[in-house]
Subunit: 418 residues, 2 copies
């Protein structure tokens, strides 16, 4: 069997299984997730054995310590997967929700019912815990899932997949509803991305290279975000104590993630005070400041910013800082350089807060709060399957509901069209 | 300038203009739509002159009477465009709606605000009234729009576009927010479909060939439906008077449209009575019946159905009829052959109605009502921009809301992440 035939067979089996998944009761899905969690806990020794194969191959290949760290299935990571599945079980089931039911003039009732998407493909990189985390969210929302992790985590992902499939079988459910692609062949991804008749959605999780590859090669809709170039604007009316606390949190608390701030915009009316204050506070935390000319004039030790700094996603203790004349210039700068991830205004002005919320069309827009809250868990989605910075279907952090769609339902009493 | 450069310039201008459109008040948008309506009424003589060029070229090219009919800008069609724009003005504006606002444990408020998608591309065939109808819906929802109609309607579409752009300019709005592609060159469509950085959504409107072409060649998300193979299942508990009225309405009232019924499934428990009854009623209306063996046994003048009849979209006075053993077989048949458009059950059983609504995952699922209601206007969307039988973003008839997305908004009081 060629790789193409193998992937078609796998995806068709997932599609067939998705019809069973779509009609499971919430109780059965929750019991399944609990069995999966217990299964992972029980299988911890075997998972560690399989993971050791990946770690040893990774060391031979010369993977960095950071990569080996992401790859490791420590007892804490395994417990985290089990806990995560139980947390997903505790979330409300989005499937079956009926909304917007109205009665039309002719008496028919028209509304919407939430249903699973069908088959979701997850393409991800080194962290094997994604296998369980993503599977849990897909199954809870009634979808079948095809998981394709990085080759360096192959044995770990296969082992996790087997444990999860054993739980499916224990509940007499089709194991094809949860499949880990059983080959490291790179062509497998290319073939999967063509199967638009079998797979409803592809979610890539990883670096920009992976996401661009998936997006460029997929015939299936892809939900994605490339990067997070998050801006914070300190308005003339800002409470500068709040502004400093928010900016420091956004830049320093975890600089390597997509919801960290990359560019700080400061209103000229507070620049005299706030530029020296925030530059010193950032420098005390080890942050390199790359500033526009006005910032260079107002503070010490500022690296001159170049054209490359404004669109940059540093993912590091580096911050671009620019003084702007007013809110309009701040919004114009954001409109030009934003990656549509998260933008923040710090202001005490009702009108400017309203304008910023309305006119900045990134996926998350905040007033007086840290961009680090831009996260499915923090914003109340319960768990996050990914984040979308493209506007179709979902925009922003994605939870269970984003793995569903709504069909129309109509209830009549024999009405016909005149 | 090459076609590629020309399309990029046009699309970039649309993107720039979309930022102005996104922030217009509802009042301004409604006044604009009224000006457009009045403009079309005043320009009726010029529109007729330009339309005459298309009609005469069409006659020379040997277009069928039906095609010439679709192409004609009669006074009634022009009035229809103006009335349509006024109806869109009267619809509620979806932009700015705030929903799901909740307070998180740390006190930040998190909700969603509805915003336009940005730039919408409409690719359509011969009816020039689509130019005004689609433009009205895109503008009301705050989107810029690029319209590309069929070459046979080129002069008509250009003339309508000029009238609509004049109204934009009258209100000091950027005319680039509404552009009719100014060339019949086929490459223009290919180039537009590549511009994923400028255009947010493509909606093709026309025959299956056009839709497949657009879908296969677009790098931009496409919302589409290929065809409507709608099923009606007459359950054992059906009120057979209702069943006959519904089935006749679905097949005969307007057989050439996508929400007409193509296959009738009949429960064996009522086949003895209902098969002869409905076959005769259909034949009296000029409908050709293609039946399974059991249908052939129970009624006169039935053409034997072949394997090609079950997936067929006849769009004509032809109906496939099959007797099934029970609801399960009906659902299995629908799952295998449905185009995910519209499926109907006629039943007096509460349980079977519930099962059908839950288990049939087409975009519109009905109980005891004609499939002919599967339409944005009939179902209360106000106006229809298209219909989607793919599940991402929209599923089923699409109205103004489907031309928008939702961003997250967060309102804090200085909170930072711990």
């Amino acid at each position: 069997m060629t790789i193409a035939e193998q992937m078609l067979e796998l995806a068709q089996a997932a599609k067939d299984a998705s019809r069973v998944l779509a009609n499971l009761s919430t109780t059965v899905k929750n019991e399944l997730l609990e069995s999966m969690a217990a299964g992972l806990e029980e299988a911890a020794p075997q998972l560690a054995t399989e993971n050791a194969k990946d770690l040893s191959a990774g060391r031979e290949k010369g993977l960095s310590d950071a990569m080996l760290d992401r790859l490791a299935l420590t007892p804490a990571v395994i417990q985290g997967m089990a806990d995560g599945l139980r947390e997903v079980a505790a979330l409300p089931d989005p499937v079956g929700e009926i909304s917007q039911m109205t009665r039309r003039p002719n008496g028919i009732q028209v509304g919407r019912m939430r249903i699973p998407l069908g088959v979701i493909g997850i393409v991800y990189e080194s962290r094997p815990n994604v296998t369980a985390d993503a599977a849990g969210l897909c199954l809870k929302s009634g979808n079948a899932v095809i998981l394709r992790g990085g080759s360096e985590a192959f044995h770990s992902n296969q082992a996790i997949g087997k444990v999860l499939q054993a739980a499916m079988e224990k509940h007499d459910l089709p194991a094809a509803a949860l499949q880990v692609v059983p080959t490291v062949d790179r062509d497998a991804v290319n073939e999967l991305l063509k199967l638009e008749e079998q797979i409803d959605l592809i979610i890539p999780r990883g670096g920009e290279g992976l996401i661009r590859f998936v997006s460029a090669n997929s015939r299936i809709p892809v939900i994605k975000h490339y990067k997070g170039v998050c801006h914070t604007f300190v308005d003339v009316s800002a409470d500068l104590t709040k502004a400093e606390a928010i900016a420091i949190n956004e830049k320093v608390q975890r600089p390597g993630v997509c919801n960290a701030m990359e560019t700080l915009l400061i209103h000229q009316g507070v620049a005299q005070t706030f530029v020296p204050q925030i530059v010193k506070a950032m420098q005390d935390k080890g942050v390199e400041i790359r500033g526009c000319e006005r910032v260079q004039e107002l503070a010490e030790g500022v690296v001159p910013a170049t054209a490359e700094d404004w669109p940059a996603e540093y993912l590091d203790l580096i911050l671009a800082v620019k003084v702007v004349d007013n809110l309009d210039e701040a919004i114009a700068h954001i409109t030009e350089y934003a990656s549509l991830h998260t933008e923040v205004i710090v202001t005490e002005s009702y009108q400017n807060a309203q304008r910023f919320l309305r006119e900045v069309n990134s996926s998350v827009v905040m007033v007086n709060a840290s961009s680090r809250f831009s996260d499915g868990n923090q914003m109340g989605l319960g768990a996050e399957i990914g984040i979308s910075t493209t506007k179709l279907h979902s925009f922003g952090p994605m939870g269970l509901e984003d793995l569903t769609t709504r069909k129309f339902i109509v209830m009549g009493e024999g009405q016909v069209r005149g």
